[in-house]
Symmetry: D2
Subunit: 364 residues, 4 copies
Amino acid sequence: MAGSTFGNILKITTWGESHGKGIGAIIDGCPAGLALSEEDIQAYLNRRKPGQSRYTTKRMETDAVEILSGVFEGKTTGTPISLIVHNHDPKSKDYSDIASYYRPGHADYTFDAKYGFRDYRGGGRSSGRETIGRVAAGAIAAKILKQLGIRLTAYTKSIGPVAISSFDPDVIDQNPFYMPDLAAANQAAAYLENCMQNCDSSGGIIECRIDGVPAGIGDPVFEKLDANLAKAILSIGAVKGFEIGDGFLAAQTTGSANNDSFYMADGPSVQKATNHSGGVLGGISDGSAILFRAAVKPTPSIAALQKTVNQSGEDIEISIRGRHDPVIVPRAVVVVEAMAALTLLDALLLNMTANLTSILRFYQ
Amino acid sequence: MAGSTFGNILKITTWGESHGKGIGAIIDGCPAGLALSEEDIQAYLNRRKPGQSRYTTKRMETDAVEILSGVFEGKTTGTPISLIVHNHDPKSKDYSDIASYYRPGHADYTFDAKYGFRDYRGGGRSSGRETIGRVAAGAIAAKILKQLGIRLTAYTKSIGPVAISSFDPDVIDQNPFYMPDLAAANQAAAYLENCMQNCDSSGGIIECRIDGVPAGIGDPVFEKLDANLAKAILSIGAVKGFEIGDGFLAAQTTGSANNDSFYMADGPSVQKATNHSGGVLGGISDGSAILFRAAVKPTPSIAALQKTVNQSGEDIEISIRGRHDPVIVPRAVVVVEAMAALTLLDALLLNMTANLTSILRFYQ
Amino acid sequence: MAGSTFGNILKITTWGESHGKGIGAIIDGCPAGLALSEEDIQAYLNRRKPGQSRYTTKRMETDAVEILSGVFEGKTTGTPISLIVHNHDPKSKDYSDIASYYRPGHADYTFDAKYGFRDYRGGGRSSGRETIGRVAAGAIAAKILKQLGIRLTAYTKSIGPVAISSFDPDVIDQNPFYMPDLAAANQAAAYLENCMQNCDSSGGIIECRIDGVPAGIGDPVFEKLDANLAKAILSIGAVKGFEIGDGFLAAQTTGSANNDSFYMADGPSVQKATNHSGGVLGGISDGSAILFRAAVKPTPSIAALQKTVNQSGEDIEISIRGRHDPVIVPRAVVVVEAMAALTLLDALLLNMTANLTSILRFYQ
Amino acid sequence: MAGSTFGNILKITTWGESHGKGIGAIIDGCPAGLALSEEDIQAYLNRRKPGQSRYTTKRMETDAVEILSGVFEGKTTGTPISLIVHNHDPKSKDYSDIASYYRPGHADYTFDAKYGFRDYRGGGRSSGRETIGRVAAGAIAAKILKQLGIRLTAYTKSIGPVAISSFDPDVIDQNPFYMPDLAAANQAAAYLENCMQNCDSSGGIIECRIDGVPAGIGDPVFEKLDANLAKAILSIGAVKGFEIGDGFLAAQTTGSANNDSFYMADGPSVQKATNHSGGVLGGISDGSAILFRAAVKPTPSIAALQKTVNQSGEDIEISIRGRHDPVIVPRAVVVVEAMAALTLLDALLLNMTANLTSILRFYQ
């Protein structure tokens, strides 16, 4: 079925394959009147650009975005915003190898099982390049959220066994791993060197913090804010786990340790003394910072020898050469942030119809 | 917005509050011709019934389901199946306490923030009783899946610090915690006794295994099978985390350790030597068992003294008396299984339109 | 698939068969804080009650509605409102005739073709009683619209060849046909007498006028307000046509005659000199009254002899005895009004997110 | 909200404005394995091309379609098909006039009312060029339908007062109006000459016939096949009415005249002696040809003098010069056919899950 659309009020649809003519996204339901330029979007795309350090693929991808519709005289019109990033040099390469076998950890086999055949060039639709459309759309959502006083900060929490032990938001952009801890970043670099020498790769954890979300956003039952965040994050290739607040740690603890006490702050407003909940209670934001984590598996494309089967049904051994990221995490940080922005903005828009008083005031 | 509907082809809509007239579900899109009786559904509901051990609430809830529509002469007709479980004795009790303050760890405050007021009786819509509709619907989905050769097995993996160390499916139903390891169940009992003496509660982890899923189910991009499972599971109250396959462990490991090799089995068919992926590659089932886990937080209602605020904006201390489960996990096991069944059946139905050859064969 | 849900923000799901245990509806996404009682809904249901004149079926249907959830202390809570109308005496009758053949003009054959069998009692799910859920839900939507200054008026425009030639809203409720013209109502009565003597039935046209809709409601492209009205109205059994404004007449005229001039009214506000458009331009309300019509076919159940086939594949002749309305139109008037109310309210709720200025103001 | 997506399983999303960089469509959910080239799509686009006779605008629009994704080695892959038609010469023209006032019969005023401002160049998003995406997508749907033995034929039934009185499908493509009656086409030409001399325009009626649809397609209640066709057709700009089968005529007739008798044909299969229903009973296809009509209003852009207001709030008089079609109908014929194809294919795909027997057979 059609699985390329995300969201209810703010709907994003992505299209494109790794080595087709381009990658794109339609953002439908974007409110009219937002000042928007290609630069706004490009700034986000540049954060996922490869070739920025020796720990990301050396492929040159310029990934320049073009706005095709939905913006007039510098402002969104309320009609669909069509974005395109043209692929370059999708020619030349010999894909006969990759076409003939199933790479372990990739979706080659499952695409064949589902569709009968696949676009095998560079992973086709399940390539990491598919996230370009998400990031471009997320840039627009984040710009609106900023005007609502909401700020998202995603960063790398760990790479393999190396986890951050301090948090300095100012250094996130100062190391190739987007870690808020420079010492940890140095250790991660050393760990990855070792992985690369072993023709191997590493996984890691991304954390995302959202400040400024008012209480009351999200819906009970099936459209809980954290349920939609979980779907958004798990829909990113290579993500294998999601947790909000204390997450899996909460499973090991007790109610007295896990409950967040309420108290009256100056203002007066209701506050929480702690934030084990990660900013969501009963699927609805509680006014605290939203905090969640994504577990990312190691890059499946490795040069080390692996067993697999080819399409003739023979057991073979392969070694995947080429320019592959030894770790996906750093480039996925902005993808996580983008998906969170899209999910949250959609929930904020949906929330406007929650009670009659607001509706009557809106239309009076 | 309307957040009470789940699914695309098979759509379930739930309604009802803890202390209203009843709890119900509509299952729309259930295929015609399934033999279905109230007993089929009741068997699942009984698995979440309280009062079955000293580790679940002593409230008596008979929870007898009645089919109101969609079944004729013992078979589903293809039209919506309406199910109701009448609430009993929703009267009498004095809720003035619970109405006046916000219980930590509950959705009292967030409902007020969103809607302006709330049905405070027993948690209203965010009560655990809301899951009755899910379980009833899940029973129908599971019955269809069984005819497709697919079997779901959910069980408790850990309670607080006590985790299973062996797996015997036959003993899952022989202990009040639905653990597949009787020794661990005994340890969990001791641990919970201690919690209860401390007026406290415990969290835990539920694992679910699905056997018999053919390769090719689920969609790329936003409707990945694991993304939809994540949403389904996080939409259950008290769930704070989801992971599939190796999950968060995959974040600490290497590609060579995490990739599952393919090989040709007798048959001949493509098999995987290991199952770190948890049965899903690129969002599509890979033919291995699907295996995922849910982190459940401790019951927030505890008798221990807690700080909070009341609706007059005063800081107060409370102790929540009453019949509350010291751990939610055992009763949530069947809820996890139900949500997985609904998600998977929906994906199987959607998959029927994936390729033209199948469609032409269907209509020839 | 699941075809029993209508709407985006305000979602209604109906269930139930003519002779099952009951008929019901879930209204999900209803804003919190609306004062709502069973009387509010009953008033609408009474308008479709049979047995009120010799021109509607003499079946006794009390159709008393019960609210099962979503209302607390007299106000909607924002959670799903579950409504039920219990069926009475669904027993006793012998349906062996109707079970054995396909009634012309009914859905008996198409249900069998689709599902393999059908609930043949009284038309099952395709009975006119299915509209009870729509009317109940529509009553809630209409109550909210009234608070927004919007008023819906549906009435019978014609029965067979008898059309109204004057419009007095005060007399709509004073004749059994809900016609705004008593002289026409008398002619319609005479015409129907003749039909009944001939063991025959009649069709007719329903018109609906909506006053007070602000300009700007509805969306361009696929979610045009008139497109959604058309779907809503055609989804009512027996409706075979829909037109807005001048409708099919516009196809015969010229641009100069059909265009509505704009002018500045006191206020100052933009007004239209005429309303050939029926209140919608480009799928978006233009501030004029919305005016549309529905063509309703004659009651297919007639006592006159008809040819058909039975389930053994034999050509037979039948005469459908029993208590059937000689014309569906009068009882469908309130159904048209209800579907229009649901469609319009949904569009009004969706419209709240159309531009950034409104959103920033909402959340400031 | 996002109103630019249509369909459930087969989802089409369109984007683009009349004078932006291009017009496009994403078709998501198209089954894998369909042979597809740009020529397949271009053939349909050419049917809506202007400049083909003196009765359509003389603007040169090459409208060459390019496939950007979703097709690999000549076959659809199951992933989204992105199509683009680049706009040419969107520069130069002076739009200061059109920007300053509201054209009667157009969506200028309603866009401003909704979004606060509008892309005024050539009608922006509400231009007839928006239908390019629909036609391109419809070409793909029609190609699949053809393989299922289903054929769609849309044609002009009337222009202004001139209606066809014979039906010869072979001449539809032999006259500029797509009429199946050459004599009527000649009369229409004379009528339009007169309109053009009067600086005026004409409306008309399009009819669409679909042969080969099996019985059982469509869903009861809200997703009736005819309800979805009505929405699809009314979502085309300038369409003001929809009727299926006898439509509005059925409202004037009797049950005995309107019911279609069933009989056993050789085969043996159930057939209908007549087709007043237009091929749909209870929202589900009955095996007869589906037959519906769309009422199209006259082109609102006319050279005759009209009254309107400008954005300064002044009453003014305007005359709209430029290259406008004197009648929209001929170019809308293929749009109607395209929307019908998309609606029907979506219903066929949804229908595959209607009963358990089919599902079990599919997965066995």
